[in-house]
Protein backbone atom coordinates (compact mmCIF):
# COMPACT_ATOMS: atom_id res chain seq x y z
CA UNK A 1 0.00 0.00 0.00
CA UNK A 2 3.03 2.31 -0.14
CA UNK A 3 1.93 4.43 -3.07
CA UNK A 4 0.91 8.05 -3.27
CA UNK A 5 2.72 11.31 -3.62
CA UNK A 6 5.72 11.79 -1.38
CA UNK A 7 6.20 15.54 -1.63
CA UNK A 8 8.86 15.58 1.08
CA UNK A 9 11.19 13.29 -0.84
CA UNK A 10 10.77 15.11 -4.14
CA UNK A 11 11.28 18.49 -2.44
CA UNK A 12 14.44 17.27 -0.71
CA UNK A 13 15.77 15.81 -3.97
CA UNK A 14 14.99 19.11 -5.69
CA UNK A 15 16.97 21.10 -3.09
CA UNK A 16 19.83 18.62 -3.18
CA UNK A 17 20.02 19.36 -6.89
CA UNK A 18 21.22 22.85 -5.86
CA UNK A 19 24.02 21.30 -3.82
CA UNK A 20 22.42 21.58 -0.35
CA UNK A 21 23.01 18.88 2.24
CA UNK A 22 20.07 16.67 3.15
CA UNK A 23 19.97 18.14 6.66
CA UNK A 24 19.56 21.72 5.39
CA UNK A 25 16.95 20.52 2.90
CA UNK A 26 15.05 18.87 5.74
CA UNK A 27 15.16 22.06 7.82
CA UNK A 28 13.86 24.12 4.90
CA UNK A 29 11.11 21.54 4.37
CA UNK A 30 10.00 21.34 8.02
CA UNK A 31 8.04 24.62 8.36
CA UNK A 32 6.22 24.24 5.02
CA UNK A 33 3.62 21.58 5.93
CA UNK A 34 3.11 23.21 9.33
CA UNK A 35 2.37 26.57 7.74
CA UNK A 36 0.13 24.91 5.19
CA UNK A 37 -1.89 23.12 7.85
CA UNK A 38 -2.13 26.27 9.96
CA UNK A 39 -3.46 28.21 6.99
CA UNK A 40 -5.84 25.36 6.18
CA UNK A 41 -7.12 25.37 9.76
CA UNK A 42 -7.73 29.13 9.77
CA UNK A 43 -9.41 29.08 6.35
CA UNK A 44 -11.48 26.15 7.61
CA UNK A 45 -12.59 28.32 10.55
CA UNK A 46 -13.59 31.16 8.20
CA UNK A 47 -15.67 28.76 6.11
CA UNK A 48 -17.26 27.23 9.20
CA UNK A 49 -18.17 30.63 10.63
CA UNK A 50 -19.80 31.59 7.35
CA UNK A 51 -21.64 28.25 7.22
CA UNK A 52 -22.77 28.73 10.80
CA UNK A 53 -24.19 32.16 10.02
CA UNK A 54 -25.90 31.04 6.82
CA UNK A 55 -27.31 27.76 8.20
CA UNK A 56 -28.52 29.37 11.41
CA UNK A 57 -30.24 32.00 9.27
CA UNK A 58 -31.86 29.31 7.15
CA UNK A 59 -32.95 27.42 10.27
CA UNK A 60 -34.62 30.58 11.58
CA UNK A 61 -36.00 31.67 8.19
CA UNK A 62 -33.72 34.68 7.90
CA UNK A 63 -31.33 35.59 5.08
CA UNK A 64 -28.15 35.94 7.10
CA UNK A 65 -25.07 37.89 6.03
CA UNK A 66 -25.67 39.34 2.59
CA UNK A 67 -23.70 42.49 1.84
CA UNK A 68 -20.07 41.51 2.56
CA UNK A 69 -19.10 39.77 -0.65
CA UNK A 70 -21.32 37.44 -2.66
CA UNK A 71 -23.71 35.65 -0.27
CA UNK A 72 -21.81 37.27 2.60
CA UNK A 73 -18.70 35.12 2.21
CA UNK A 74 -16.50 37.98 3.43
CA UNK A 75 -18.47 38.33 6.68
CA UNK A 76 -16.10 36.08 8.74
CA UNK A 77 -13.12 38.15 7.56
CA UNK A 78 -14.92 41.30 8.68
CA UNK A 79 -15.58 39.62 12.04
CA UNK A 80 -11.92 38.67 12.37
CA UNK A 81 -10.69 42.16 11.46
CA UNK A 82 -13.07 43.67 14.01
CA UNK A 83 -11.66 41.42 16.74
CA UNK A 84 -8.09 42.29 15.67
CA UNK A 85 -8.54 46.05 16.04
CA UNK A 86 -10.59 45.95 19.23
CA UNK A 87 -8.98 47.16 22.44
CA UNK A 88 -7.28 44.42 24.43
CA UNK A 89 -8.71 44.78 27.93
CA UNK A 90 -7.40 43.11 31.07
CA UNK A 91 -9.79 43.79 33.97
CA UNK A 92 -8.18 45.78 36.81
CA UNK A 93 -8.67 43.05 39.42
CA UNK A 94 -7.83 40.16 37.10
CA UNK A 95 -4.62 38.19 37.28
CA UNK A 96 -2.71 39.49 34.26
CA UNK A 97 -0.35 36.58 33.63
CA UNK A 98 -2.91 33.80 33.98
CA UNK A 99 -5.49 35.88 32.10
CA UNK A 100 -3.15 36.03 29.09
CA UNK A 101 -1.87 32.46 29.35
CA UNK A 102 -5.35 30.90 29.52
CA UNK A 103 -6.46 31.45 25.91
CA UNK A 104 -3.02 30.42 24.61
CA UNK A 105 -3.22 27.14 26.55
CA UNK A 106 -6.64 26.53 25.04
CA UNK A 107 -5.57 27.17 21.45
CA UNK A 108 -2.09 25.61 21.24
CA UNK A 109 -3.03 21.95 22.00
CA UNK A 110 -5.84 22.11 19.44
CA UNK A 111 -3.49 23.34 16.72
CA UNK A 112 -0.80 20.82 17.73
CA UNK A 113 -3.35 18.04 17.26
CA UNK A 114 -3.48 18.82 13.53
CA UNK A 115 -0.07 17.11 13.43
CA UNK A 116 -1.76 13.74 13.03
CA UNK A 117 -4.57 14.59 10.59
CA UNK A 118 -3.83 12.78 7.30
CA UNK A 119 -5.18 14.05 3.98
CA UNK A 120 -3.52 11.22 2.06
CA UNK A 121 -0.97 8.44 2.37
CA UNK A 122 1.89 10.92 2.76
CA UNK A 123 -0.11 14.12 3.11
CA UNK A 124 0.27 14.77 6.81
CA UNK A 125 2.81 16.61 8.91
CA UNK A 126 4.11 13.60 10.78
CA UNK A 127 3.02 9.97 10.86
CA UNK A 128 3.87 9.55 14.54
CA UNK A 129 3.51 6.04 15.91
CA UNK A 130 1.29 7.06 18.81
CA UNK A 131 -1.02 8.93 16.37
CA UNK A 132 -4.51 9.13 17.78
CA UNK A 133 -3.25 8.77 21.37
CA UNK A 134 -1.34 12.03 20.91
CA UNK A 135 -4.64 13.78 20.16
CA UNK A 136 -6.30 12.30 23.27
CA UNK A 137 -3.34 13.39 25.41
CA UNK A 138 -3.22 16.89 23.91
CA UNK A 139 -6.95 17.47 24.24
CA UNK A 140 -6.64 16.76 27.95
CA UNK A 141 -4.49 19.90 28.37
CA UNK A 142 -7.32 22.18 27.32
CA UNK A 143 -9.27 22.12 30.62
CA UNK A 144 -6.23 23.64 32.37
CA UNK A 145 -6.41 26.66 30.07
CA UNK A 146 -10.15 26.96 30.67
CA UNK A 147 -9.75 26.72 34.46
CA UNK A 148 -6.90 29.24 34.26
CA UNK A 149 -8.90 31.84 32.35
CA UNK A 150 -11.95 31.21 34.50
CA UNK A 151 -9.95 31.77 37.68
CA UNK A 152 -7.89 34.72 36.40
CA UNK A 153 -10.93 36.70 35.25
CA UNK A 154 -11.92 37.28 38.90
CA UNK A 155 -15.57 36.89 38.01
CA UNK A 156 -17.94 34.32 39.47
CA UNK A 157 -19.53 33.51 36.13
CA UNK A 158 -16.11 32.94 34.59
CA UNK A 159 -15.04 30.68 37.44
CA UNK A 160 -18.26 28.64 37.23
CA UNK A 161 -17.89 28.39 33.47
CA UNK A 162 -14.29 27.23 33.78
CA UNK A 163 -15.21 24.62 36.40
CA UNK A 164 -18.09 23.36 34.27
CA UNK A 165 -15.85 23.17 31.20
CA UNK A 166 -13.25 21.13 33.07
CA UNK A 167 -15.86 18.78 34.59
CA UNK A 168 -17.48 18.29 31.21
CA UNK A 169 -14.29 17.57 29.33
CA UNK A 170 -13.02 15.16 32.00
CA UNK A 171 -16.32 13.24 31.96
CA UNK A 172 -16.53 12.92 28.20
CA UNK A 173 -12.89 12.14 27.61
CA UNK A 174 -13.30 8.61 29.01
CA UNK A 175 -16.04 7.31 26.66
CA UNK A 176 -14.23 9.13 23.83
CA UNK A 177 -10.97 7.33 24.55
CA UNK A 178 -12.77 3.99 24.97
CA UNK A 179 -14.49 4.26 21.58
CA UNK A 180 -11.14 5.18 19.98
CA UNK A 181 -9.66 2.15 21.72
CA UNK A 182 -12.16 -0.13 19.98
CA UNK A 183 -10.97 1.23 16.61
CA UNK A 184 -7.33 0.78 17.63
CA UNK A 185 -8.14 -2.78 18.62
CA UNK A 186 -9.39 -3.46 15.10
CA UNK A 187 -6.45 -1.69 13.43
CA UNK A 188 -3.63 -3.06 15.60
CA UNK A 189 -2.07 0.40 15.41
CA UNK A 190 -2.45 3.86 16.88
CA UNK A 191 -1.32 5.63 13.72
CA UNK A 192 -4.03 7.55 11.84
CA UNK A 193 -2.60 6.47 8.47
CA UNK A 194 -2.92 2.80 9.44
CA UNK A 195 -6.45 3.40 10.68
CA UNK A 196 -7.46 4.81 7.27
CA UNK A 197 -5.60 2.10 5.33
CA UNK A 198 -7.39 -0.58 7.33
CA UNK A 199 -10.71 0.84 6.03
CA UNK A 200 -9.65 1.16 2.41
CA UNK A 201 -10.22 -2.44 1.32
CA UNK A 202 -13.64 -2.29 -0.32
CA UNK A 203 -14.52 1.40 -0.49
CA UNK A 204 -17.60 2.49 1.42
CA UNK A 205 -18.39 -1.07 2.54
CA UNK A 206 -15.22 -1.38 4.60
CA UNK A 207 -15.60 1.87 6.52
CA UNK A 208 -15.51 1.52 10.27
CA UNK A 209 -18.99 3.02 10.69
CA UNK A 210 -20.57 -0.33 9.69
CA UNK A 211 -18.41 -2.28 12.13
CA UNK A 212 -18.54 0.29 14.93
CA UNK A 213 -21.99 1.97 14.76
CA UNK A 214 -22.20 2.35 18.54
CA UNK A 215 -18.65 3.65 18.76
CA UNK A 216 -19.41 6.15 16.01
CA UNK A 217 -22.39 7.61 17.86
CA UNK A 218 -20.60 7.65 21.23
CA UNK A 219 -17.55 9.31 19.66
CA UNK A 220 -19.64 11.95 17.90
CA UNK A 221 -21.58 12.83 21.05
CA UNK A 222 -18.37 13.03 23.08
CA UNK A 223 -16.63 15.09 20.40
CA UNK A 224 -19.51 17.58 20.44
CA UNK A 225 -19.30 17.73 24.22
CA UNK A 226 -15.53 18.28 24.10
CA UNK A 227 -16.05 21.13 21.62
CA UNK A 228 -18.67 22.65 23.95
CA UNK A 229 -21.19 22.86 21.15
CA UNK A 230 -24.90 22.97 21.78
CA UNK A 231 -26.57 20.82 23.14
CA UNK A 232 -23.53 20.64 25.43
CA UNK A 233 -22.49 24.30 25.64
CA UNK A 234 -23.08 24.59 29.39
CA UNK A 235 -19.72 26.22 30.12
CA UNK A 236 -20.82 29.27 28.15
CA UNK A 237 -24.57 29.01 28.62
CA UNK A 238 -25.63 32.59 27.91
CA UNK A 239 -28.81 32.58 29.98
CA UNK A 240 -27.09 31.27 33.10
CA UNK A 241 -23.46 32.34 33.01
CA UNK A 242 -23.33 35.42 30.69
CA UNK A 243 -20.62 33.78 28.56
CA UNK A 244 -18.86 31.47 31.01
CA UNK A 245 -15.10 31.65 31.07
CA UNK A 246 -15.08 34.08 28.11
CA UNK A 247 -17.09 36.76 29.94
CA UNK A 248 -14.22 39.14 30.66
CA UNK A 249 -12.34 38.60 27.42
CA UNK A 250 -12.26 41.05 24.53
CA UNK A 251 -10.27 41.67 21.37
CA UNK A 252 -7.59 39.22 20.33
CA UNK A 253 -7.77 37.11 23.50
CA UNK A 254 -11.45 36.47 22.86
CA UNK A 255 -10.57 35.73 19.24
CA UNK A 256 -8.19 33.02 20.45
CA UNK A 257 -11.05 31.27 22.28
CA UNK A 258 -13.26 31.68 19.25
CA UNK A 259 -10.61 30.29 16.90
CA UNK A 260 -9.86 27.49 19.34
CA UNK A 261 -13.46 26.32 19.56
CA UNK A 262 -13.98 26.35 15.78
CA UNK A 263 -10.62 24.70 15.01
CA UNK A 264 -11.55 22.07 17.57
CA UNK A 265 -14.90 21.51 15.87
CA UNK A 266 -13.26 21.03 12.46
CA UNK A 267 -10.61 18.80 14.01
CA UNK A 268 -13.25 16.64 15.66
CA UNK A 269 -15.14 16.35 12.37
CA UNK A 270 -11.91 15.41 10.57
CA UNK A 271 -11.13 12.78 13.19
CA UNK A 272 -14.62 11.29 12.97
CA UNK A 273 -14.18 11.01 9.22
CA UNK A 274 -10.73 9.44 9.68
CA UNK A 275 -11.78 7.00 12.37
CA UNK A 276 -15.20 5.97 11.06
CA UNK A 277 -15.75 7.24 7.52
CA UNK A 278 -12.67 6.01 5.72
CA UNK A 279 -10.57 9.19 5.87
CA UNK A 280 -9.28 10.09 2.43
CA UNK A 281 -10.85 7.02 0.85
CA UNK A 282 -13.25 7.44 -2.07
CA UNK A 283 -16.52 5.43 -1.72
CA UNK A 284 -15.30 3.32 -4.66
CA UNK A 285 -11.67 2.21 -4.27
CA UNK A 286 -9.33 4.19 -6.52
CA UNK A 287 -7.51 0.99 -7.52
CA UNK A 288 -10.74 -0.31 -9.07
CA UNK A 289 -11.19 2.90 -11.07
CA UNK A 290 -7.59 2.71 -12.25
CA UNK A 291 -8.05 -0.92 -13.27
CA UNK A 292 -11.30 -0.01 -15.05
CA UNK A 293 -9.48 2.71 -17.02
CA UNK A 294 -6.56 0.35 -17.68
CA UNK A 295 -4.07 2.71 -16.04
CA UNK A 296 -1.18 1.61 -13.84
CA UNK A 297 -1.64 2.74 -10.22
CA UNK A 298 1.79 4.34 -10.14
CA UNK A 299 1.26 6.60 -13.18
CA UNK A 300 1.90 10.26 -12.29
CA UNK A 301 -1.56 11.25 -13.49
CA UNK A 302 -3.24 8.70 -11.24
CA UNK A 303 -1.02 9.74 -8.33
CA UNK A 304 -2.05 13.39 -8.58
CA UNK A 305 -5.66 12.33 -9.11
CA UNK A 306 -5.58 10.10 -6.02
CA UNK A 307 -4.01 12.80 -3.87
CA UNK A 308 -6.55 15.45 -4.90
CA UNK A 309 -9.46 13.02 -4.50
CA UNK A 310 -8.07 12.21 -1.04
CA UNK A 311 -7.97 15.85 0.07
CA UNK A 312 -11.42 16.54 -1.38
CA UNK A 313 -12.95 13.46 0.26
CA UNK A 314 -11.43 14.22 3.69
CA UNK A 315 -12.63 17.82 3.61
CA UNK A 316 -16.03 16.87 2.21
CA UNK A 317 -16.70 14.27 4.91
CA UNK A 318 -15.50 16.63 7.61
CA UNK A 319 -17.73 19.45 6.38
CA UNK A 320 -20.76 17.16 6.17
CA UNK A 321 -20.19 16.45 9.87
CA UNK A 322 -19.70 20.17 10.58
CA UNK A 323 -23.03 20.77 8.82
CA UNK A 324 -24.72 18.24 11.11
CA UNK A 325 -23.10 19.89 14.14
CA UNK A 326 -24.36 23.32 13.06
CA UNK A 327 -27.88 22.00 12.43
CA UNK A 328 -27.80 20.36 15.87
CA UNK A 329 -26.72 23.62 17.45
CA UNK A 330 -29.62 25.59 16.02
CA UNK A 331 -32.35 23.00 16.51
CA UNK A 332 -31.73 21.33 19.88
CA UNK A 333 -32.21 22.72 23.38
CA UNK A 334 -29.40 22.72 25.92
CA UNK A 335 -29.18 19.89 28.45
CA UNK A 336 -29.01 20.61 32.19
CA UNK A 337 -25.73 20.04 34.04
CA UNK A 338 -27.06 16.97 35.88
CA UNK A 339 -28.42 15.53 32.62
CA UNK A 340 -25.02 16.17 31.01
CA UNK A 341 -23.13 14.33 33.72
CA UNK A 342 -25.72 11.52 33.84
CA UNK A 343 -25.41 11.05 30.09
CA UNK A 344 -21.64 10.94 30.29
CA UNK A 345 -21.14 8.71 33.30
CA UNK A 346 -24.24 6.52 33.44
CA UNK A 347 -24.99 6.04 29.75
CA UNK A 348 -22.02 6.66 27.44
CA UNK A 349 -19.37 5.15 29.73
CA UNK A 350 -21.09 1.75 30.19
CA UNK A 351 -22.08 1.65 26.51
CA UNK A 352 -18.55 2.38 25.31
CA UNK A 353 -17.14 -0.22 27.72
CA UNK A 354 -19.60 -2.80 26.40
CA UNK A 355 -18.71 -1.76 22.84
CA UNK A 356 -15.03 -2.33 23.57
CA UNK A 357 -15.75 -5.74 25.07
CA UNK A 358 -17.95 -6.81 22.14
CA UNK A 359 -15.35 -5.57 19.65
CA UNK A 360 -12.68 -7.64 21.39
CA UNK A 361 -14.96 -10.68 21.31
CA UNK A 362 -15.82 -10.18 17.63
CA UNK A 363 -12.16 -9.73 16.82
CA UNK A 364 -11.46 -13.14 18.32
CA UNK A 365 -14.48 -14.71 16.61
CA UNK A 366 -14.20 -13.13 13.13
CA UNK A 367 -10.58 -12.06 12.72
CA UNK A 368 -10.98 -11.46 8.96
CA UNK A 369 -13.68 -8.81 9.49
CA UNK A 370 -12.46 -7.20 12.67
CA UNK A 371 -8.72 -7.08 12.09
CA UNK A 372 -6.98 -10.28 13.17
Amino acid sequence: MEYGLDLENSFNEFLKGFGLSSEIAHIIWLPLPMLLVLVAAVVGVLVTVWLERKISAAAQQRIGPEYAGALGVLQPIADGLKLLVKEDIIPAKADGILFTAGPILVLVPVILSWLIVPFGQNLLISNVGIGIFLWIALSSIQPIGLLMSGYASNNKYSLLGGLRAAAQSISYEIPLALSVLAIVLMTNSLSTVDIVNQQSGAGILSWNIWRQPVGFIVFWICALAECERLPFDLPEAEEELVAGYQTEYAGMKFALFYLGSYINLILSALLVSILYLGGWGFPIPVELIAKFLNLPINAPFIQVFTASIGIVMTVLKAYLLVFIAILLRWTTPRVRIDQLLDLGWKFLLPISLANLLITAGLKLAFPQFFGG
Partner: protein, 199 residues
Protein backbone atom coordinates in the same frame (compact mmCIF):
# COMPACT_ATOMS: atom_id res chain seq x y z
CA UNK B 1 28.13 18.89 16.11
CA UNK B 2 25.31 18.14 13.71
CA UNK B 3 22.08 20.12 13.66
CA UNK B 4 20.05 17.29 15.20
CA UNK B 5 22.39 16.98 18.19
CA UNK B 6 22.44 20.76 18.71
CA UNK B 7 18.64 20.90 18.67
CA UNK B 8 18.49 18.05 21.12
CA UNK B 9 20.97 19.75 23.42
CA UNK B 10 19.06 23.05 23.36
CA UNK B 11 15.75 21.25 24.03
CA UNK B 12 17.28 19.30 26.89
CA UNK B 13 18.73 22.45 28.51
CA UNK B 14 15.47 24.39 28.23
CA UNK B 15 13.34 21.51 29.51
CA UNK B 16 15.66 20.82 32.45
CA UNK B 17 15.68 24.50 33.40
CA UNK B 18 11.88 24.61 33.24
CA UNK B 19 11.64 21.48 35.40
CA UNK B 20 14.04 22.80 38.05
CA UNK B 21 12.76 26.38 38.19
CA UNK B 22 9.14 25.23 37.98
CA UNK B 23 9.60 22.71 40.78
CA UNK B 24 11.23 25.37 42.96
CA UNK B 25 8.31 27.67 42.17
CA UNK B 26 5.79 24.99 43.14
CA UNK B 27 7.39 24.73 46.58
CA UNK B 28 8.33 28.34 47.23
CA UNK B 29 5.45 30.42 45.81
CA UNK B 30 2.92 31.79 48.28
CA UNK B 31 -0.11 31.50 45.99
CA UNK B 32 -1.37 27.93 45.85
CA UNK B 33 -3.02 28.54 42.48
CA UNK B 34 0.29 29.53 40.88
CA UNK B 35 1.89 26.46 42.44
CA UNK B 36 -0.75 24.22 40.91
CA UNK B 37 -0.37 25.71 37.43
CA UNK B 38 3.43 25.55 37.67
CA UNK B 39 3.10 21.89 38.62
CA UNK B 40 1.32 21.38 35.29
CA UNK B 41 4.24 23.06 33.54
CA UNK B 42 6.71 20.77 35.32
CA UNK B 43 4.72 17.69 34.27
CA UNK B 44 4.71 18.93 30.68
CA UNK B 45 8.48 19.45 30.68
CA UNK B 46 9.02 15.96 32.07
CA UNK B 47 6.92 14.68 29.15
CA UNK B 48 9.23 16.65 26.87
CA UNK B 49 12.25 14.92 28.42
CA UNK B 50 10.61 11.55 27.71
CA UNK B 51 10.14 12.64 24.09
CA UNK B 52 13.84 13.45 23.85
CA UNK B 53 14.52 9.89 25.03
CA UNK B 54 12.42 8.51 22.12
CA UNK B 55 9.71 7.35 24.50
CA UNK B 56 6.75 8.97 22.78
CA UNK B 57 4.11 6.68 24.28
CA UNK B 58 5.34 7.34 27.81
CA UNK B 59 5.41 11.07 27.05
CA UNK B 60 1.81 11.06 25.82
CA UNK B 61 0.73 8.95 28.80
CA UNK B 62 2.51 11.40 31.10
CA UNK B 63 0.57 14.30 29.57
CA UNK B 64 -2.73 12.42 29.69
CA UNK B 65 -2.42 11.14 33.25
CA UNK B 66 -0.45 13.81 35.06
CA UNK B 67 -1.46 16.99 33.23
CA UNK B 68 -4.90 15.97 32.00
CA UNK B 69 -6.11 14.13 35.08
CA UNK B 70 -3.99 14.70 38.20
CA UNK B 71 -3.21 18.37 37.68
CA UNK B 72 -6.71 19.27 36.48
CA UNK B 73 -8.15 17.60 39.58
CA UNK B 74 -5.71 19.46 41.84
CA UNK B 75 -6.66 22.80 40.28
CA UNK B 76 -10.32 21.81 40.40
CA UNK B 77 -10.09 21.07 44.12
CA UNK B 78 -8.21 24.31 44.81
CA UNK B 79 -10.83 26.35 42.99
CA UNK B 80 -13.73 24.66 44.73
CA UNK B 81 -12.33 25.35 48.20
CA UNK B 82 -10.40 28.54 47.52
CA UNK B 83 -11.34 30.40 50.68
CA UNK B 84 -9.24 33.41 51.54
CA UNK B 85 -8.39 32.66 55.15
CA UNK B 86 -5.29 33.34 57.22
CA UNK B 87 -3.61 30.15 58.20
CA UNK B 88 -3.00 29.62 61.88
CA UNK B 89 0.66 29.71 62.88
CA UNK B 90 1.90 26.25 63.75
CA UNK B 91 3.60 25.91 67.15
CA UNK B 92 6.28 23.32 66.49
CA UNK B 93 7.22 24.65 63.06
CA UNK B 94 10.94 24.35 63.72
CA UNK B 95 10.99 20.66 64.52
CA UNK B 96 8.67 19.99 61.55
CA UNK B 97 11.05 21.79 59.25
CA UNK B 98 14.01 19.84 60.57
CA UNK B 99 12.18 16.54 60.08
CA UNK B 100 11.04 17.36 56.55
CA UNK B 101 14.49 18.63 55.57
CA UNK B 102 16.14 15.46 56.84
CA UNK B 103 13.64 13.28 54.96
CA UNK B 104 14.25 15.24 51.76
CA UNK B 105 18.03 14.99 52.21
CA UNK B 106 17.76 11.23 52.77
CA UNK B 107 15.77 10.85 49.57
CA UNK B 108 18.27 13.02 47.72
CA UNK B 109 21.20 10.93 48.97
CA UNK B 110 19.35 7.79 47.88
CA UNK B 111 18.88 9.25 44.38
CA UNK B 112 22.53 10.30 44.21
CA UNK B 113 23.58 6.81 45.25
CA UNK B 114 21.39 5.29 42.50
CA UNK B 115 22.91 7.73 40.03
CA UNK B 116 26.47 6.79 41.03
CA UNK B 117 26.07 3.04 41.27
CA UNK B 118 23.86 2.37 38.23
CA UNK B 119 25.48 1.69 34.87
CA UNK B 120 23.73 4.17 32.58
CA UNK B 121 25.44 3.55 29.26
CA UNK B 122 23.49 1.16 27.02
CA UNK B 123 25.41 -1.69 25.47
CA UNK B 124 24.28 -0.72 21.98
CA UNK B 125 22.62 2.68 21.56
CA UNK B 126 21.52 1.73 18.03
CA UNK B 127 19.26 -0.86 19.58
CA UNK B 128 16.50 1.56 20.66
CA UNK B 129 13.05 0.33 19.72
CA UNK B 130 11.42 3.75 19.16
CA UNK B 131 7.92 3.43 17.74
CA UNK B 132 7.70 -0.24 18.64
CA UNK B 133 7.84 0.64 22.35
CA UNK B 134 4.03 0.85 22.60
CA UNK B 135 3.72 -2.81 21.64
CA UNK B 136 6.51 -3.81 24.03
CA UNK B 137 4.87 -1.93 26.93
CA UNK B 138 1.59 -3.73 26.21
CA UNK B 139 3.27 -7.13 26.11
CA UNK B 140 5.03 -6.50 29.41
CA UNK B 141 1.84 -5.24 31.09
CA UNK B 142 0.00 -8.42 30.19
CA UNK B 143 2.77 -10.90 30.92
CA UNK B 144 5.47 -10.38 33.55
CA UNK B 145 4.01 -7.14 34.99
CA UNK B 146 0.42 -8.41 35.11
CA UNK B 147 0.21 -8.68 38.90
CA UNK B 148 1.54 -5.17 39.68
CA UNK B 149 -0.76 -3.81 36.95
CA UNK B 150 -3.84 -5.45 38.47
CA UNK B 151 -2.85 -4.53 42.03
CA UNK B 152 -2.47 -0.90 40.94
CA UNK B 153 -5.95 -0.93 39.43
CA UNK B 154 -7.45 -2.40 42.61
CA UNK B 155 -5.64 0.29 44.62
CA UNK B 156 -7.08 3.01 42.37
CA UNK B 157 -10.57 1.52 42.75
CA UNK B 158 -10.21 1.56 46.53
CA UNK B 159 -9.05 5.17 46.44
CA UNK B 160 -12.03 6.08 44.27
CA UNK B 161 -14.56 4.44 46.59
CA UNK B 162 -12.89 6.12 49.56
CA UNK B 163 -13.10 9.51 47.85
CA UNK B 164 -16.80 9.01 47.11
CA UNK B 165 -17.50 8.06 50.73
CA UNK B 166 -15.59 11.11 51.97
CA UNK B 167 -17.30 13.42 49.46
CA UNK B 168 -20.79 12.26 50.43
CA UNK B 169 -20.75 13.76 53.88
CA UNK B 170 -24.22 12.44 54.68
CA UNK B 171 -22.61 9.04 55.14
CA UNK B 172 -21.02 10.23 58.37
CA UNK B 173 -22.81 12.32 60.93
CA UNK B 174 -19.57 13.33 62.67
CA UNK B 175 -16.53 15.00 61.25
CA UNK B 176 -13.61 12.58 61.38
CA UNK B 177 -10.94 15.04 62.52
CA UNK B 178 -12.90 17.26 64.95
CA UNK B 179 -15.67 14.97 66.16
CA UNK B 180 -18.25 17.74 65.75
CA UNK B 181 -21.55 17.08 63.97
CA UNK B 182 -21.13 17.68 60.25
CA UNK B 183 -22.55 20.88 58.82
CA UNK B 184 -24.70 19.61 55.97
CA UNK B 185 -26.22 22.87 54.86
CA UNK B 186 -24.66 23.25 51.45
CA UNK B 187 -24.75 19.62 50.45
CA UNK B 188 -27.25 18.38 47.94
CA UNK B 189 -28.93 15.74 50.06
CA UNK B 190 -29.78 12.50 48.38
CA UNK B 191 -33.31 11.24 48.86
CA UNK B 192 -32.00 8.18 50.69
CA UNK B 193 -29.12 8.41 53.14
CA UNK B 194 -26.55 5.89 52.08
CA UNK B 195 -25.52 4.23 55.34
CA UNK B 196 -26.69 6.15 58.39
CA UNK B 197 -30.33 5.11 58.66
CA UNK B 198 -29.93 1.50 57.67
CA UNK B 199 -30.96 -0.97 60.42
Amino acid sequence: MSIAITTQFICFTVLSLVVIIGALGVVLLESIVYSAFLLGGVFMSVAGLYLLLNASFVAAAQVLVYVGAVNVLIIFAIMLVNKKEDLKPINDIKSRRIISTSICLTLLSLLIRVDLTNVWSLSSPQNSIGEESTIRIGEHLFSDYLLPFEVASVLLLMAMIGAIVLARRDVMSKDISTGLPVDQELIEKSSEPLLTNKN
